[in-house]
């Protein structure tokens, strides 16, 4: 999703990204994702990753948006998002107060399958499919750990990589949201 911002993405990637995580509860209605994505685009906010799915109540979806906040006031993002009629509430999740996960599926070279298994088992991953020279592996972990896992798999030959973008929940003992809007 980093392409959503066109040139903005290029500029940000040239620097070290400053990632913030927002969790938004939105009405599960036609076009809501387009409204959110369109808002980020026209306000010049740079989406790093985005994950959307219905909540336990199918009338609502939960969107986890990771934003590169270079040159952007974090509270502006939350306030502008909150103006969307279909956004019920929005909060920022600080990494130190949150649990985060991301899922990765990858097709990797696996002439030496045991070596691949060695790598991914360190991250709790598993082999979902394999042939003589290739495997599809699945790893679910904190996104920083996934980055590391990805780097370790690269020497085997990383043929296809799909990551989901992170999802996050506030940790059980965390304090109240930093940016609580329209509760």
């Amino acid at each position: 999703m980093s392409g959503a911002q066109g040139d903005g993405a290029v500029v940000s990637h040239a620097q070290e990204p400053d990632l913030h995580i927002f969790a938004a509860i939105v009405e599960n209605k036609f076009g809501v994702l387009a409204r959110v994505a369109g808002l980020f685009s026209r306000r010049g906010f740079n989406i790093f990753s985005l994950a959307v799915a219905p909540t336990d109540d199918p009338a609502y979806s939960r969107i986890t948006i990771v934003v590169d906040v270079h040159n952007t006031d974090v509270t502006q993002i939350a306030k502008q998002l909150d103006k969307l009629i279909n956004v019920i509430n929005i909060s920022e999740l600080h990494p130190s107060d949150s649990v985060e996960r991301e899922l990765m599926l990858a097709r990797v070279g696996a002439v030496d399958l045991a070596a691949v298994v060695d790598v991914i088992s360190e991250y709790g991953g598993e082999v979902l499919d394999h042939t003589d020279d290739e495997a599809i592996v699945s790893v679910s972990a904190h996104p920083d750990r996934l980055d590391r896992c990805e780097r370790q798999l690269r020497p085997f030959g990383l043929h296809v990589l799909q990551r989901t973008g992170r999802i996050a929940l506030r940790a059980l003992d965390a304090s109240e949201p930093a940016v609580g809007m329209a509760s």
Binding site: V26, E27, F30, G31, A34, R35, G38, R42, D73, T75, Q76, K79, Q80, D82, K83, L84, I85, N86, V87, I88, N89, A182
Partner: protein, 584 residues
């Protein structure tokens, strides 16, 4: 009661209090135009859908009620995107209904299909695609609620043709349920107390009055506040009229073409009390150099405006009228004594301001020969020869700035213009909408020749519907504002700005559209022409004022520059390129 979707839509508009709508029928909206014949709502037939949108805006500006427009799908919907964006930028309450191809055809590139909700997402406060006729009353009720509450804005309802024909059981909702929409109007007492403390101790305070005060119907509260605290007021382009120009505390318009005293008072203030304004770039110039020594109190009903451009010292979220009233209550001494007794000594500041006002008034020079006719002279004569409560409507460009500068606005809701979007062609249709909303008032559009050519055809609508607006074209034969920038910033290399004073023949064109047409070429003809125009009330009037081609708008702050670099008149032209660049 069983109704078609089309009947339910009209009924819902009636239930929402709509008295007049502006529109133009076509294929996808045809079913709705049938019950229009049976509805008590007055429908004004426009000649181009952009006209319908701007008429709805003009109506909303002067009545405070939401403007309503209805057009068909495809090209009609795209034609009304400009008014939607204009209303979004200037926070004008508006509800637009567009026809859409049948549900089964959506996505098939059907005739006159376009993704109207997709296109308008970025220029509406909210929009709807109706997918079930039973939803129509709820959606209409929500649309009016969203358009008129909180920070007002445009809402679009896209109605597929088959949904218009579908039967539904009529109901009208008791209220609206929008869990994600809870505009805040009441203000935080702690923030008010903090603001009051800043106001008491400020030595050089200025009230920065914005359009939000008009939306909040806060003109009286503002006057009480300013008088009680004895603080000068600048009124932004969107707020002209919210505070009387003839009031001794009024400094007039700030910004790129603002009065010296308004611009400089803000620059040198130690406290800006921003009431419903948004630190627009046309007011601040380069924000890094804007009002560098000022603390900021910022009242806005939209919390996203706080810190968007300038970080306030005190942010007050809420309705501007409630905020001002709360400030009055907080600052009024309990013992009934004079408020100013409890505040810092501001006598030096006040005498500095009156010195600026004396030294740097707006100025132009109308030659006694009558030639060339100066546009500012025309505006002044119009001002002095029309009723005090005349509604003035402007397009965008030099004429807009001269109208704003030289008119004396003494009443709120007498000034209608396109501020944020800067839509050329706004004046004629907006004036028509304003006249529909206030039929007993005199409505003058002050327009440019370039602007007039963009939407003049709506005068045919005005003639046909007997809406007698008056139009003063300040015809300088050029796209004058662009010409001014090319003169100052592109070494007088005039690229594609000449329009010709004679083509079109504005008098002949006016008459062909059913209007009276008058041509004025020298200063002595100005007042007789205005008097004649004021006497005509059975059709629109157009006066073609042939004004000086070379007259420029002053003061001027070059873009990117600091407001300290204000250029007061032609003697400063040579410095313009050193101080900044042509505005974007």
């Amino acid at each position: 009661m069983e109704l078609t979707g089309a009947q339910a839509l009209m009924r819902s508009l009636e239930m929402s209090g709509v008295e007049v709508m502006f529109g133009l029928p076509g294929g996808a909206i045809l079913p709705v135009y049938d019950p229009v014949l049976d509805s008590p709502i007055r429908h004004v037939l426009v000649r181009h859908e952009q006209g319908a949108g701007h008429m709805a805006q003009g109506y909303a500006h002067v009545t405070g009620k939401p403007g309503v427009a209805m057009v068909t799908s495809g090209p009609a919907a795209t034609n009304i995107v400009t008014p939607l964006c204009d209303a979004f930028m200037d926070s004008i309450p508006m509800v637009v209904v567009t026809g859409q191809v049948a549900m089964s055809a959506i996505g098939s590139d059907a005739f006159q299909e376009c993704d109207t909700t997709g296109i308008t997402m970025a220029v509406t406060k909210h929009n709807y695609l109706v997918t079930d006729a039973a939803d129509i009353p709820r959606i209409v009720a929500e649309a009016f609620h969203i358009a008129t509450t909180g920070r007002p804005g445009p809402v679009l309802i896209d109605l597929p043709k088959d949904i218009s024909n579908e039967m539904m059981t009529w109901y009208w909702p008791d209220g609206v349920e929008l869990p994600g929409y809870r505009p805040r109007s009441g203000v935080d007492p702690a923030a008010i107390a903090e603001a009051a403390a800043l106001i008491r101790t400020a030595q050089r305070p200025v009230i920065y009055a914005g359009g939000g005060l008009l939306k909040a119907r806060a003109a009286e509260a503002l006057r009480e506040f300013a008088e009680m605290c004895d603080i000068h007021v600048v009124t932004t382009l969107m707020a002209r009229g919210v505070f009387p120009d003839r009031h001794p505390l009024c400094l007039g318009m700030p910004g790129m073409h603002g009065n010296y005293s308004a611009v400089t008072a803000m620059q040198q203030a130690d406290l800006l009390i921003n009431l419903g304004a948004r630190f627009d770039d046309r007011v601040t110039g380069n924000p890094a150099h804007f009002a560098p020594g000022a603390k900021v109190i910022h009242v806005d009903i939209d919390p996203a405006e706080h810190g968007k451009v300038r970080v306030p010292d005190v942010a007050i979220v809420g309705d501007a009228r409630l905020a001002v009233e709360a400030l009055i209550a907080a600052l009024r001494p309990a013992d009934g004594s004079d408020t100013t007794a409890a505040t810092a000594d501001r006598s030096a500041w006040k005498s500095t301001i009156s010195g600026w006002q004396e030294q740097y008034p707006l100025q132009y020079d109308q030659p006694s020969s009558g030639h060339p006719l100066k546009p500012q002279y025309v505006v002044e004569q119009l001002r002095d020869n029309t009723p005090d409560d005349t509604i003035v409507v402007a397009g965008v460009g030099q004429h807009q700035m001269w109208a704003s500068q030289y008119w004396k606005f003494d009443y709120p809701y007498t000034w209608v213009n396109s501020g944020g979007l800067g839509t050329m062609g706004f004046a004629v249709p907006a004036a028509i909408g304003a006249k529909v909303g206030q039929p007993d008032r005199t409505v003058w559009a002050v327009d440019g020749d370039g602007c007039f050519q963009m939407t003049a055809q709506e005068l045919i609508s005005a003639s046909a519907e007997n809406i007698p607006v008056k139009v003063a074209i300040l015809n300088n034969a050029y796209l004058g504002m662009v010409r001014q920038w090319q003169e100052l910033f592109y070494a007088e290399r005039y690229s594609e700005v000449y329009l010709s004073a004679d083509h079109p023949d504005y008098v002949g064109w006016a008459e062909a559209m059913g209007c009276a047409g008058i041509r004025v070429e020298s200063a002595e003809e100005v007042v007789p022409a205005i008097t004649k125009a004021n006497s005509i009330d059975d059709r629109p009037v157009v006066i073609d004022f042939r004004v000086d081609t070379e007259e420029k708008v002053y003061p001027m702050v070059p873009a990117g520059g600091s407001n300290d670099d204000i250029i007061l008149g032609p003697e400063g032209d040579a410095d313009a390129v050193l101080k900044g660049s042509a505005p974007s």
